[in-house]
Structures are given as C-alpha cells and as structure tokens.
C-alpha cells in the first residue's frame, strides 16, 4: 500500500568490509548485475557468428549499434564516434534498468538519484578532462561567447561557468524524477483498487476496474517514458561530449 516502499534498498548479503562499514550486495546491485550480464550476453551472442545476412539476434544487435551511432553522428559529427563505447554503454545500461523497473516486483535502479547522479557526473568529468587534455586552455573558450562587449564579459563568463556546472544536476534529476514519479503513480493507482475493494466490498471490487484501466494506460506510458528517458539521457550525453570535442569554435 505504501507507494514509496518499492524504492527501498534491501541488503541481500555481505561482501566484505571497508574500515568499519560493511559492504552489502543490495537488490539495486543485483538489478545492475543482471542488466550487465544480459547486455553482455546479448551482444556476445549477437556478434558470435557474424554473417552477411544477419539472424534475429545479430539483427537486433546491429540495430542498437546503428541507433546509437546515428545519434552520435548527428550531434558530434563523425569525430564523436570515438565516444561510441561510452555512449553505447550508458544508453543500453539506462535503457535496460528502466525496462527492468517495469517488471512487477523488480527494483527500479534509475529511480535513485545516487545512480543517475554518478552517471551524470561521469559524463561531466569526461567532458572536462577530455576537453582539457585535447584543447588545453582553449577549452575555456567554451565560457567566452564571441561578440560580447568587454565591460559585461566577466559577468557573462560567470553565468556561463555556472550554467556549465549546473548541467549534471538537470541531467541526473530528469531521469531520476521521471522514473520516480511514474512508478509512484502506478503504485498509487494500484492502491486505489485495494482501498475500493476492502472499503466497499463487492461494489468496490467492480469499481476497481476503473483504476485498473488507468494502470494499463499508465503502463504503456511508462514503457514509452522508460525508453524516452534513456534516449534523452544518451543524447544529452552526446551534446555535452560535443562541447569537449569542439569548444567555443
């Protein structure tokens, strides 16, 4: 009945100690491990017997490759392809975790901001470190727009820097909040059925058809959201990585 209960982290077993803190293998870690195993298996099996005329699994693997490659090329040009492994991993990882969350009784890893924030910060520092390595101090041209009068330039640069630093926040909060809100909505409507049934008896159970219809509709929407948010997360990653490739121009 408690709509928040589904986001509870459960310790499954202990894997060791660091200092005084015990490190647990949690249900969240289990879902992530499952996602990694499934994804690796899918790609290894899909490319194991590469034929000119692909089978079903190989065709699916090639489709995911083409999808991410098109996304990267359209934002970063062909140069962006050097980040392909990174973006592909992020996209497939988030997509699988979002989809796993839709399975009843499964745990939605991406509904925890710790996970999405770490992913977004990884992207952020990749942009920062790669940009500095590749362009040196020219990378900071990113913060200096062209054609700005010199007397307001310090303020503009400060605003641009803050805008840059705030990226991981909106990047991570978007995915996390969408998954959180969607799953809470599902649970709330599911709770209505139980409330109606236990409160009003037989009439209540019949009336429960209405929230149930709502759940079916919401589930379709959530499936779309799960895919879309993974896509948005990946395409924002591409856009941010593009700044590391071509800062300032």
């Amino acid at each position: 009945m408690d709509p928040i209960h589904q986001f509870q982290i459960v310790n499954l077993f202990s894997v060791g100690k660091i200092g005084n803190a015990e490190i647990f293998f949690t249900n969240s870690a289990l879902m992530m491990l499952l996602a990694v195993v499934l994804l690796t298996g899918f790609l290894v099996l899909g490319t194991a017997s590469a034929r000119p005329v692909p089978g079903r699994l190989q065709s699916a693997a090639e489709l995911t490759y083409e999808f991410v490659a098109t996304m990267l090329r359209s934002t970063g040009g062909s140069e962006g392809m050097r980040f392909f492994p990174f973006v592909f991993t992020i996209f497939m990882f988030v997509l699988l975790l979002n989809m796993f969350g839709l399975i009843p009784y499964a745990f939605t890893v991406t509904s925890h901001i710790v996970i999405t924030a770490v992913l977004a910060l990884t992207v952020f520092f990749t942009v920062l470190i790669y940009g500095l390595m590749r362009h040196g101090l020219h990378f900071f041209n990113l913060f200096v727009p062209k054609g700005v009068p010199i007397y307001i330039l310090p303020m503009i640069v400060a605003i641009e820097v803050l805008s840059f630093i705030s990226r991981p926040i909106s990047h991570s909060v978007r995915l996390f909040a969408n998954m959180l809100a969607g799953h809470i909505a599902l649970k709330v409507f599911a709770g209505f059925i139980i409330l109606l049934g236990t409160g009003l008896g037989a009439i209540g159970w019949i009336g429960g058809v209405l929230p149930f219809a709502m759940i079916v509709a919401l589930y379709a929407l959530e499936t779309l959201v799960a895919f879309l948010q993974a896509y948005v997360f990946a395409i924002l990653t591409c856009i941010y990585l593009n700044d590391a490739l071509h800062p300032g121009h």
Binding site: R73, G77, I159, E160, S163, S170, V225, L228, I235
Partner: protein, 118 residues
C-alpha cells in the same frame, strides 16, 4: 541481382566474370555510402526530442532549478571558505538564477546555442 537498375553491358557477361563482379560491388558500395550517410559531416540541430508537454515542462524546470541550486551552493561554500557571509551567497545566487534562465532559453531553443554560431 536482377534488380533492373544495372546497364545492359553487365547483363550479357557471364556471372563468374570476376572483374565485372568486383566493379559492380564497388559501385553498389558507393551508392550505399551515398544513401545511408547523408548527415555525416553536418551536425544537425542540437535539440533533444521532448515529445510530451510534461517532459518538456519537466526539462525546462529542472534546468532552471539546477542553475539556482548550483549558484546557491557555490555561494555558500565560498562564504564558508572566505568568510564573506552573506555576499558570496547573494551574488552567486543571482548569477545562478541568470544561468538557470540561460539554461532554460537554450533548452527551449530561444537563445542560440553557443556552438551553433560560426
């Protein structure tokens, strides 16, 4: 193979003629390249696809909140380190608000993205 788009010269040749086959393969490869990679060099419009109004509204609000939060957080940290309470917080909160607005305008496509100029 018999797709009707080849010219007559190849039709009459025997199928095991290797030179003709490799020439045809090469031409096919060139045509495939032309067909499948139209936007290799030109980077397309940099906007994320937000389908529903909810997603769009959510994106814009998170951009604004992100800017304000970062401004406030940095200002607070600066004040703690330099002992300039409350000036760092005030100035950086305002700048953060401006950055949030800038984020929103960029996300909505109102302000031109800095990388699209040139």
């Amino acid at each position: 193979m018999a797709d009707g788009t080849q010219d007559e010269g190849e039709r009459t040749e025997p199928p095991d003629n290797e030179a003709a086959l490799s020439a045809r393969l090469k031409r096919l490869g060139e045509r495939l390249d032309q067909a499948s990679r139209p936007s290799e060099t030109a980077s397309g419009p940099r906007q994320t696809p937000d389908t529903s109004a909810f997603a769009r509204g959510f994106r814009l609000s998170s951009e604004l909140v992100g800017g304000v939060l970062v401004g406030a957080g940095l200002g607070w940290l600066l004040d703690r380190w330099l002992g300039t309470t409350p000036w760092g917080l005030i100035v950086l909160l305002l700048l953060g608000f401006a950055a949030g607005i800038l984020n929103v305008m960029r996300a909505a496509g109102v302000a031109p993205d800095r990388n699209l100029k040139d």
